[in-house]
Amino acid sequence: MWRRILALVRKEFLALLRDPKSRIVLIGPPLIQLLVFGYAATFDLQEVPYAVYNEDRGAAARDLLAAFAGAPSFQKVADLHAEAEIAPLVDARRALVVVHIGPRFTADLLAGRPAPLQVIIDGRNSNTAMVAQNYVRSIVDRYNDGWIAARDRQGPPARLVMRAWFNPNLESRWFFIPGIIGMLTLVVTMLVTALTVAREREQGTFDQLLVTPLRPDEMLLGKMVPGFVIGFVQATAILLVATLWFRVPFLGSLPAFYVGLALFLLSSVGAGLLISALSATQQQGLLGAFVFMVPAVILSGFATPIENMPAFVQTLTLIDPLRYFLVVLRKVFLEGAGFALLVDQFWPMALIGVVTLVLAGWLFRHRMY
């Protein structure tokens, strides 16, 4: 029996990789995409373009503006001289933030009155606006602390002392790059599995297989292995790039990572083969892959937290294997989680894998066309 399966596996690999075009498609784009997406996927703002409309000639205003100028995440694009200049600049998206200092700013401060500082933020991308607002707030807070300390005045009775676990600088790239590993692994297993059965059906070789004494479970195993092996190799390569190139810390246990990967591959290979077994043509397989992949990515919590979704959508995410794998990845990478914390993520993936694979194997022989 093992010899027959070995022959099947060999055949599957040859069918996938003998064509140089397929080799390029399977290996090139995922690595390139990791690099590009790794840089693109971040909520941290760099060089926020801001403009200054300063009506005050006082020293306090100059100090505050110096604090903005010294902040690495801000980049001044313009000095304005009239209120009317603000709107065109923001409308045209040339400035995300406009700092408007009124004419009595220094005078108010020195008099001990609260000095209003108007900051206009482009809210078209609400998330960017929120982040930019937080950046501005932290500059102003630091300025206030300095002002109070320098004048030895009474500060607020309580201060916030913020500390972030696992990701002290709150770099969102650390959050997204493990997610990209999961997403690209899903795409690659889909490319490998979703079309295999459909392609054999179209070319007639599937009939040829069915008339051999091979059993459906042997055929299933033969079709699973390439997805597994390619997924493993790919994920390992991406893991290396993530840790060595992007310097995302890897604190957890490598065995826990690989157990999670294996279970995720089990479930995504299962989903891919199920789509493939359901499809009579490659076109259907392709559309099926798309219909599965797009919601799987969106509902996985990759960019938008699952907790923010309404209850019925949260229920829907329970059948999304990527959802569990992303949790595993982030916990292993950043939180240093071991097996004990991950069991709740492991068993649903195993369940999805077993159900889809059993269905796919049954369909091999029972899907007629």
């Binding site: 000095a115 809210g123 991308n125 990515v297």
Partner: protein
């Protein structure tokens, strides 16, 4: 007898009718054009949001007092939080590790005492930094709650809170910072990319694979007419999908459309031409459905999702990656729809992006036209 101008019109209408009949007969095409947009829009509109609401946080007061109870009340007053009181710090930390809470607010035993001292009392805030964005939101919300609490405290004591610079942020275009208001318009662009490229990525390849291209070629119809027929049919289908998504965005999700609808229509048409052109280019160059499909998967969804400015801010990407985003058709349209929906007819945004769309459309259609000659070799 020679094919006159009337002949060209007849041929074109024949080709258009053929494409429409094929679209109607193939349920998968209809599904991509109409069901997929509705599905995605509902998912995004209702399901996906970057705004953290009702964030579970744990409050640990080492020595409960009236002050700590006041602070808890302030947190409870914000709809951003669902605070729960934890007995001890280790217990709260365990909950944070398990993901049961997103943050811990820790008031040490000497909180009440230090509150009345000169340097003030520290309020320790611990967040799970794995999801940096949510963590930052939680920090922002805590800061807000803290500010409100301080103000209430000072008011009660009749003191004036000493706040040298009073930050007064004003968010333009989306004052409540609803992420739906920017995700939904961006989604219009993503959906149209999928419709445009995925539908047409297979159509030319299908004609080649089924051998019908050969039969079309020996009729008097020119290649431009064949392409025009396909472009026309899918253009109309795509316009239908666009109107559907825009309609849903405005009426179902209440996203304001501040710019001109006709301007939106015009820009969407340019974008459709570019997206359809991209699909036709893939299809023409690949000539096999398998390869065309693989390229379509790799070249459409993830790049449009991640590199268009739909979720991630392009300005914050490194220069090289920013340069790459200029190749993504969706990025220009995302800029246009976000502006048209939320800001209005801002010509300084629309004109350059529309020009870029027109250029991309011209390039893709030009490649397709050049590569589809009436020759088999």
């Amino acid at each position: 007898m020679s094919p006159a101008r009337g002949g060209a019109a007849m041929r074109l209408s024949g080709l258009l009718r053929k494409e429409f009949l094929q679209i109607v007969r193939d349920p998968s095409g209809i599904a991509i054009a109409f069901l997929m947009p509705i599905f995605l829009l509902v998912l995004f509109g209702y399901g996906v949001s970057l705004d953290a609401d009702h964030v579970p946080v744990a409050l640990v007061a080492d020595a409960p007092s009236q002050d700590s109870a006041d602070f808890l009340a302030a947190l409870q007053g914000s709809h951003y939080f669902v605070p729960r009181v934890a007995g001890s710090l280790p217990e709260a930390e365990q909950a944070l590790r398990e993901g049961a809470v997103k943050g811990i607010i820790h008031l040490s035993a000497d909180f009440s005492r230090r509150l009345r001292q000169a340097d003030g009392a520290p309020i320790q805030v611990l967040v799970n930094g794995v999801d940096a964005n949510t963590a930052r939101l939680v920090e922002g919300y805590v800061t807000g709650a803290w500010g409100a609490w301080l103000a209430a405290q000072s008011a009660r004591r009749g003191q004036k809170l000493d706040m040298p610079v009073d930050l007064q942020p004003r968010i333009w275009f989306n004052s409540e910072l609803k992420s739906r208001n920017y995700l939904v318009p961006g989604l219009v662009a993503i959906i149209m990319t999928l419709i445009g490229a995925l539908l047409t990525a297979l159509v030319m390849a299908r004609e080649w694979e089924r051998g019908t291209m050969e039969a079309l070629m020996v009729t008097p119809a020119s290649m431009s007419e064949v392409l025009l027929g396909k472009l026309g049919a899918y253009f109309i289908l795509g316009t239908g999908g666009m109107l559907l998504t825009v309609g849903l965005a405005v009426w179902l999700f209440g996203v304001p459309l501040r710019g001109s609808f006709w301007l939106l229509w015009g820009c969407a048409s340019l974008f459709l031409l570019a997206a359809l052109g991209m699909g036709l280019t893939i299809s023409t160059l690949a000539r096999s459905q398998f390869v065309a499909g693989q390229i379509a998967i790799i070249a459409t969804f993830l790049p449009a999702f991640l590199l268009s400015g739909f979720i991630f801010d392009i300005g914050s990407m490194p220069a090289v990656v920013q340069a790459i985003t200029h190749l993504i058709v969706a990025r220009y349209f995302v800029a246009i729809v976000q502006t048209l929906f939320l800001a209005g007819n801002v010509w300084s945004v629309i004109l350059p992006n529309a020009a870029a769309l027109a250029l991309m459309a011209a390039i893709f259609l030009g490649i397709t036209w050049r590569k589809s000659r009436k020759r088999l070799d």
